[in-house]
Amino acid sequence: MIDWLLDPAHWSGPDGIPVRLIEQVGISGISLLIAAAVALPIGVWIGHTGRAATLAVNAANIGRAIPSLAAIGIIAPITQAFDPELGFKVYPTLFAMIILAIPPILVNAYAGVAGVDRELVEAARGMGFRERQILGRIEVPIALPVIAGGLRSATVQVIATATLGALFGFGGLGRYLVDGVAQNDDGQLFGGVFLVAALALVAEGGFALLQRALTSPGLRRAGSSSGVEPA
């Protein structure tokens, strides 16, 4: 595995590690961005207004229950009808990544905002915040750690799905796994395992750090010292 990873031949060309890595990271990133662009406004809006909450949460729960493979499988025949070539190889995975990333982002954005103490919101309203200011200055900053948690879950989901996509002719690091098994090449297989796992863990860890950075120190201390209430 180490030999495989260190072999310069594997670091260049259209099948090289940099290309595969960029494919996977790029497409994962784009999927996350699209999913966030859809899910964040909806989730935050539902959390703020409380409207359609049950509907959205149930929909998200169902979305969460969809196996990634099944999502790819369902999408494939549809996209193929539109684009016989890419429709069977790239789009199913791409769409599945986006669709599967939406529920965790949406549910967390909703739960984070809805979880902000209503007393606090009313205090803000009573002091003359406009609704948009309540959202922007109170609800979202306080909900930020939970919102980031949703992005974190979605990232794990997206990277796993992208990897799975290799089974369906999708590029990315998953190719090494599929090809490694098919060619009985343990070096390539474990090299791929290492790269895929490392990417997932780095992304996860990055989001964990981001989540921490986004948490106001006031909230962090509240968490650690909750229950201590001196007079």
Binding site: D117, E119, L120, E122, A123, A124, R125, G126, M127, G128, F129, R130, Q133, I138, P141, I142, S216, P217, G218, L219, R221, A222, S225, S226, E229, P230, A231
Partner: protein, 402 residues
């Protein structure tokens, strides 16, 4: 220091009702919890008006209709004569201080940021906000150097309440709404916060609407008290003394409590009542003359004083021997010494403790100015209320006993 003295507005509820639920509205009933039924109150500028009553009586609803967190079903609320409904709502709210029980401090912001909230909404320049916030922290007794950069979670309950008050005062609003502002702290801290707030209010003279369910707090804090009963009606609106002396209904009488006489005594001080003149005799004075004076007075005692008119002890009038002079050796122990600031309740308690009927009132220098007897205090309670009402002038109110 610009504490905004004199900036206060009148608040007037003009036949205000709040009806909840479509069925209740149709039936014209206002029975749901929090409903308000035809409320009319006029609160003069610079006074504290307490809304007090059992839970669900509509007192908080009434408060929130002032800053339009709740819109009235009918009626008007006039602030300095201007209908609150006619003003832009955020604009209205930024001009009204708002303090709630859980303080509503923003957990993700530092104390100084919390206090500067409304000035920031109003678009003040940053240095001015900072200066104002620190000034206010000082005003509520929190050292800015120590507290400004902390977060709410690092403060005690009492400190958080102080920050809540400072935040409400930040933009120097003429009106403050306080919804059980001291409800979440223990009794000792609450007492201290109440006293501090009354002292602050002497300086600020804001118009304050104050909601509580605690009748003792209402009597202590209020220049005026509106007692709410179920169904959102005001059972009585008046000064604390009026409420205690002449409850308008059984409900009010029960609500203020069976000890309302004692509560009234805690509202009045020695200086508020007419003292009995003390018959005194100075040490070294001829005894015969003093005895004659003492016997002429119904009280069977002569109060022995020193050269500076300070009380030394009592002499029983019939036991004063006619010849010689008055000496300290003859004196029997003292009654409690009372100052003009002592509340009648404390005075009575001190007399009961000492097992005497008479207390000696002395001025700041310790000179005798008169006597208070249990009869005098009893008589005060029987006096018609009007005499006491006049005492609730702004500025004249003092926080409780030092």
């Amino acid at each position: 220091m610009d504490t905004g003295r004199g900036r206060a507005a009148t608040v007037e509820f003009d036949h205000v009702s709040k009806v909840y639920g479509p069925t209740a509205a149709k039936a014209g009933r206002a029975a749901a919890p929090g409903a308000v039924n035809d409320l009319s109150l006029a609160i003069p500028a610079g006074r504290i008006c307490v809304l007090v009553g059992p839970s669900g009586c509509g007192k908080t609803t009434s408060l929130k209709m002032v800053n339009r967190l709740i819109e009235p079903t009918s009626g008007r609320i006039l602030l300095d004569g201007v209908d609150a409904a006619s003003r832009e709502v955020t604009d209205l709210r930024r001009g009204i201080g708002y303090v709630i029980q859980q303080t509503g401090l923003f957990p993700h912001q530092t104390i100084v940021e919390n206090v500067g909230t409304v000035p920031r909404l109003l678009g003040w320049a940053a240095p001015r906000i900072k200066e104002r916030s620190e000034e206010l922290l000082g005003l509520v007794g929190l050292d800015p150097a120590k507290y400004a950069r902390r977060f709410p979670s690092q403060l005690s309950g009492g400190e958080r309440q102080r920050v809540g008050v400072a935040r409400a005062l930040a933009a120097d609003p003429p009106i403050m709404l306080m919804d059980e502002p001291f409800g979440a702290v223990d009794p000792i801290v609450r007492e201290r916060l109440q006293d501090e707030f009354l002292r602050l209010q002497e300086e600020l003279a804001k118009t304050i609407l104050f909601v509580t369910h605690d009748i003792d707090e209402a009597i202590k804090m209020g220049d005026l008290v509106a007692v709410f009963e179920q169904g959102g009606r005001v059972a009585q609106f008046g000064t604390p003394t009026e409420l205690l002396a002449a409850p308008a209904s059984d409900f009010v009488a029960r609500f203020v409590g069976a000890d309302r006489g004692l509560k009234r005594l805690s509202l009045s001080r020695i200086r508020d009542i007419e003292l009995r003149p003390a018959v005194t005799g100075r040490i070294g004075e001829p005894a015969g003359e003093a005895r004659r004076r003492a016997l002429a007075d119904p009280l069977p005692y002569l109060l022995l004083v020193d050269a500076q008119e300070r009380p030394v002890g009592w002499l029983r009038d019939v036991e004063i021997e006619g010849d010689g002079v008055l000496t300290e050796a003859m004196a029997i122990p003292m009654s409690p010494l009372l100052s003009p600031e002592t509340t009648l309740k404390d005075a009575l308690s001190m007399m009961l403790d000492a097992d005497v009927h008479t207390g000696i009132v002395v001025d700041r220098a310790g000179r005798v100015t008169g006597l208070v007897t249990t009869e005098v205090i009893g008589g005060f309670l029987r006096e018609p209320v009007q005499a006491a009402t006049a005492k609730h002038q702004p500025g004249e109110r003092k926080p409780a006993e030092p």
